[in-house]
C-alpha cells in the first residue's frame, strides 16, 4: 500500500466514525453512499494534491458534517409530517455550538499529552478525549443511571497536578487509601507484594537512588507536597496512602515526575478517564503547550506525514498489575 492510499484510508475511517453522530435512521439509510461519496472525493484530492486544497477540503467536510448532524438530529426529533425549516443555518450553528460547549465541559474534555511520562502507552503529541463522567460521583440516585465507578488500582487517569492545578497530568493509579507502598530497585512493592507491571518501561536517563528505592534516600526533586508526604506519611520505610488520597506513577517509570516527587493526589483532583486518542501528532513538547505561529505553519506543512495515523482512535487501557509474594 502506498502512503497515499494509507492517508485516504485514514480519512475514510475517521469519516465512518463521524457518521455515528447522525440519527440512526439517517445513518442506516444513507451511511454507505455517504462513505462512498467521501472516498471518491478523497481520491480526487489525492490525484490533485496541494496542501491548501487539502486544508480546504478538511474544513469543508467538517462544516458539512457539523451542520448536517445538527439538522438531521433536529429533523429526527420533530414529529413526522411537519415541514422542517431547513433554511435557517443560523439556528443550526447556534445549536451546534451549544451542544459542543455542553459536551466539552461536562461530558468529555480534550487534552494533549505534553511529556513522555506515560511513554509506552501514550506518546508526546497524543491528543486524547477524557471521559469526565465515570469518576465523578453523581450521588446516591445518579449511581443507578450513570456509569459511575470509583478509581481502581491500575487505572490510567487524568488528574490536576496538585502543585499547580492549572496543569493536567495523565498517570496510573498505584495506591488507594490505606495501601503501603515502597520501591526497591525500581520495583513497586505494595502491601508487601511485588508488582509485576507489564505496562511499565524502564529507560533510565540518569541514576537516581531515590526514584528507584522510594522513599529511601530523599531526592532533590521533591516539591513541598512531596516533602510533606515524606515527613508525615512514612512508616517503616513505606508510604501509607492517607484517606481520600491516591498514589500515582508514570508508566515511563525512570523518567516520570509523579507521586514520588510531588506527593499524593487528592481524590477530587481526578478529572476523568482517558477514552481514546483522537489525533496523534509528532511535535515537540513546547509546541503542544502553547500555540505559536511556528507550530501552526509546521502543522499545515506536515499534517499528513507527522500525524501518527495508526494511533488514531487507540484507547489507553487500564491494566491491573499482578502481585507476587505472600502478604507480610
Amino acid at each position: 500500500m502506498t502512503s497515499e492510499s494509507n492517508v485516504v484510508g485514514g480519512f475514510c475511517r475517521l469519516y465512518s466514525a463521524l457518521l455515528y453522530a447522525y440519527p440512526p435512521d439517517f445513518r442506516r439509510q444513507y451511511g454507505r453512499p455517504m462513505e462512498q461519496l467521501f472516498r471518491d472525493r478523497c481520491r480526487d484530492l489525492a490525484r490533485s494534491s496541494g496542501r491548501l486544497r487539502l486544508l480546504l477540503f478538511a474544513v469543508q467536510m467538517m462544516s458539512d458534517w457539523l451542520s448536517t448532524v445538527v439538522r438531521e438530529g433536529a429533523a429526527a426529533l420533530r414529529p413526522a409530517g411537519r415541514h422542517s425549516g431547513y433554511r435557517s443555518s443560523v439556528t443550526e450553528w447556534a445549536g451546534s455550538i451549544l451542544i459542543y460547549l455542553f459536551a466539552t465541559t461536562t461530558l468529555v474534555q480534550a487534552y494533549v499529552i505534553p511529556t513522555g511520562s506515560m511513554e509506552g502507552n501514550l506518546l508526546v503529541g497524543d491528543h486524547i478525549l477524557v471521559d469526565r463522567v465515570t469518576y465523578s460521583d453523581p450521588g446516591p440516585l445518579g449511581r443507578h443511571i450513570l456509569p459511575y465507578r470509583d478509581v481502581e488500582r491500575g487505572d490510567i487517569v487524568a488528574l490536576l497536578y496538585p502543585e499547580d492545578i492549572r496543569e493536567t497530568y495523565v498517570k496510573r493509579i498505584i495506591g488507594l487509601p490505606g495501601d503501603r507502598i515502597h520501591l526497591k530497585n525500581g520495583q513497586v512493592i505494595r502491601n508487601g507484594r511485588r508488582l509485576v507491571e507489564p505496562y511499565v518501561q524502564h529507560i533510565a536517563a540518569f541514576p537516581d537512588p531515590y526514584r528507584d528505592n522510594f522513599p529511601q534516600s530523599p531526592g532533590i526533586f521533591t516539591t513541598p507536597r512531596g516533602r510533606d508526604m515524606l515527613e508525615h506519611d512514612v512508616s517503616n520505610g513505606e508510604v501509607i496512602v492517607p484517606p481520600g488520597m491516591l498514589f500515582a506513577l508514570g508508566d515511563n517509570r525512570d523518567n516520570s515526575l509523579d507521586s514520588r516527587y510531588w506527593g499524593f493526589v487528592p481524590r477530587g483532583y481526578v478529572v476523568g478517564k482517558p477514552l481514546l486518542v483522537y489525533w496523534s501528532y509528532d511535535a515537540p513538547t513546547a509546541d503542544l503547550q502553547e500555540w505559536t505561529w511556528h507550530h501552526a505553519i509546521d502543522l499545515a506543512e506536515h499534517f499528513l506525514t507527522r500525524t501518527r495515523w495508526k494511533r488514531t482512535f487507540l484507547a489507553p487501557r487500564s491494566q491491573a498489575a499482578e502481585e507476587i509474594g505472600g502478604a507480610q
Binding site: Y22, F26, Y30, Q36, L37, M61, D64, S67, T68, E72
Partner: protein
C-alpha cells in the same frame, strides 16, 4: 408519504436543491455524479458535502421531487454498487418554475442596475 405539493408552494428552492435537480435534468445519476455535475454547473463554487447532499436527497424524496432508480455499478468508476436517483415529473415542473422565477428576478435586477453603471 405526504401528498406532493404543487411547485409554487416549495419555491424558492435552496441552491443545493436547485442544482441537484438540474444535475438530474438530463439523466439519472448517483451521489458522486450529482456532486460532480453541481460543481461543474457552478464553476466549483458549490461543492456538496456528503451530509448536505444526502440530507437534501432525503427531503427531495419525501417531497416527491426525485425518486430512487435502483442500485447498480458505474462502469466508469469501480467495483461498488451505487444508488441512482432520477427526477420525477413534479421535480421537472418545480425546477422549471424556479428557473422562471430566477429569470424574472434577473430581469428586474438588470433593469434596476442598468442606470447605476452608466
Amino acid at each position: 408519504m405526504p401528498k406532493p405539493r404543487p411547485p409554487q408552494e416549495i419555491l424558492p428552492l435552496t441552491p443545493p436543491v436547485f442544482h441537484i435537480l438540474l444535475a438530474l435534468a438530463g439523466e439519472e445519476r448517483h451521489g458522486y455524479g450529482i456532486m460532480q455535475d453541481v460543481a461543474q454547473q457552478t464553476d466549483g463554487a458549490l461543492q456538496l458535502g456528503p451530509g448536505t447532499l444526502y440530507g437534501c436527497l432525503k427531503r427531495m424524496l419525501a417531497a416527491g421531487l426525485v425518486e430512487e432508480s435502483g442500485e447498480r455499478r458505474d462502469p466508469a468508476l469501480d467495483d461498488e454498487r451505487r444508488r441512482y436517483y432520477r427526477m420525477t415529473a413534479l421535480g421537472k415542473r418545480t425546477v422549471r418554475a424556479e428557473a422562471q422565477r430566477l429569470a424574472g428576478a434577473v430581469t428586474v435586477a438588470m433593469a434596476k442596475l442598468a442606470g447605476e453603471n452608466a
